[in-house]
Amino acid sequence: MSTAAATHDEHHDHGPAKGLMRWITTTNHKDIGSLYLLFALLMFFIGGAMAMVIRAELFQPGMQLVQPEFFNSMTTVHALVMIFGAVMPAFTGLANWLIPMMIGAPDMALPRLNNFSFWILPFAFTMLLLTFFMDGGAPAGGWTLYPPLVLQLGEAFPFMIFAIHLMGISSIMGSINVIVTILNMRAPGMTLMKMPLFVWTWLITAYLLIATMPVLAGAVTMLLTDKFAGTSFFSAAGGGDPVMFQHIFWFFGHPEVYILILPAFGVVSAIVPTFARKPLFGYSSMVYATASIAFLSFIVWAHHMFTVGMPVVGELFFMYATMMIAVPTGVKVFNWVSTMWKGSMTFETPMLFAIGFIFMFTIGGFSGLMLAIAPADFQYHDTYFVVAHFHYVLVTGAIYSIMAATYYWLPKWTGNMYNETLGKWHFWISTISVNVLFFPQHFLGLAGMPRRIPDYSVQFADWNMVSSIGGFVFGASQLLFAFIVFKTIRGGEKASSQVWEGAKGLEWTLSSPPPYHSFTQAPEVK
């Protein structure tokens, strides 16, 4: 340790330690960013495997492959793994890699906290996934954990709660680090309104996280004490109310969906100007739109529970408040389109994924507006229409932006160019199959197929088969993604430090791959 400290003080560009311990003890933002991203990729495949089981079972009506209880565990754990294990760590990994490089800092502000916040994640997910081997099986009551159903879970119950606690602690610590880094570590001249939008969206996301993850922690702690300590927060027999859980949960849950999408907005706002070779249209309106979305996300939660028996006034309030979110979101979409307008566009893989994001995220946004209409929601609630909606915003939204970001910054991170032909193949196979996978689910939902069921009436058979075929192709095409990423890490055509002709920002002034400590001398920002 003393040698490491000595070299640090000398401002030398020293390399990382060797071997496995490098990754366990690392406090370097790039190492931790890579760990987060690789962990997210692993979880993406574990959660994806569960999705394959779900689609295989739903390929035909009737019970084919798995027990209904196991099917329910698949839907529940698929959601928990994808949300907390894949999308959130992937964005935290991007934040770790990019924020110090984008604001001209040597590293994150709190490196030890950074190491700790990553390394509790593998333990959290090991604990969650081991519940499959427990008496009573893995969590099967839905990722929303509604009581009293969730309280019927067997031995896995406390393990699930503690796993969620650990995930929450991890993302809270990650967010604290992001906020402190952005507020304290910016290079001289890097004012808030000069920051790249990715940094802005992550700053706002981090605030959403520290405001809502503790509320989720409180909610699951109440579940825990209801089950084991004799409290009755959600038990009607003891004077509590199960509907209250839904209110507390969605007070966390709705900001959470913006936690999953705001960094994606930042990624797309970085990529579109590069390949349109024009500055981002309406930078400050993007910042204000992001902040408005974050604010509105706190006052719309009950649109997830229109059918619990709310008074009309409540339904109207949450309906209009929800629809209001379409305004700042529309500002963003129009700004991206205006950025592309009359630009000298080229369509490399990151740009394809970014445009795919804009197009398909907007489809998900529109189905969200349909769901926001309270009287119509009574028909859509808990159907496959909802499943189609949130997979359009999360898969073709959040996941597409993460893939766009990977293709865009991977040459910078590794110093090697990825294979453009394979990248384009990955994009087109994914985009066609993901629409075959999720678009028919709109029809299924409107026709009344409920979500979270292992069997269905025969009139839903055709579209389910189409959807499953799309699912298998989409799942398989992600193996191509993993192949491209690992191939690029191992070697390839050398990338210049600029990488993309139209790329602007401090990270492109560093070499590819960048030095172990990003900016040991603060750069000058004009």
Binding site: A109, L110, I176, I179, I210, P214, A237, I248, F251
Partner: protein, 184 residues
């Protein structure tokens, strides 16, 4: 330079940690807020409890108006008790105290404790429905095979909105034999 930045980072860390702890507390604060909100708005069908003496002072009996009060009892899943109202419905004058009974029978071979939780529909009417005495105020103990009549005294607030002509009082009986707290 490096030292002062490190200090600033730790100060920011401490400040944000306070927010985290406060938001954890806020999650718990939502519980009483929720209950107060439901009490004020009458959402959730929560009913009130009043003193018998206070009724005469507070309410003026409206002899010109009739309100139909219907009674429904459900046993929660896994609760074997058979509970029935003595009357399916009664017509009452707002402001006047009425008494009715419910009969509960424990058909099992073990002693059990039950808790009834009331709810009034429509929601808007729940804040105008008050009880002066109710078997739901305490837990009810029934020995194996025992049957017992349980009293309910209630009064409808004369301020009940004019468009409400029928109220439904629904009780759900929960099995709390394994020890839970008493609530009203």
């Amino acid at each position: 330079m490096a030292d002062s930045r490190h200090k600033a980072n730790l100060i920011s860390l401490a400040r944000i940690s306070v927010v985290v702890v406060a938001m954890f507390g806020f999650g718990y604060l939502l519980v009483p807020l929720y209950n107060v909100f439901c009490e004020i708005t009458g959402l959730n069908g929560k009913t009130g409890r009043v003193d018998e003496q206070a009724v005469a002072a507070r309410y003026h009996v409206d002899k010109d108006r009739f309100v139909t009060v219907q009674f429904v009892v459900n046993a929660n899943q896994g609760m074997p008790w058979d509970v029935r109202p003595a009357q399916r419905e009664v017509k009452v004058h707002p402001g006047e105290i009425y008494a009715t009974t419910f009969t509960a029978r424990n058909p099992t071979a073990r002693d059990m404790v039950g808790q009834a939780v009331p709810s009034v529909a429509p929601n808007v009417a729940s804040r105008y429905f008050n009880k002066t005495e109710c078997f739901c105020f305490t837990q009810q103990t029934l020995a194996a095979g025992e049957q017992k009549a349980m009293p309910l005294h209630f009064v409808v607030d004369p301020k009940l909105p004019k468009n409400v002509r029928t109220l439904t009082l629904a009780y759900t009986f929960f099995d709390v034999s394994e020890g839970a707290k008493a609530v009203n």
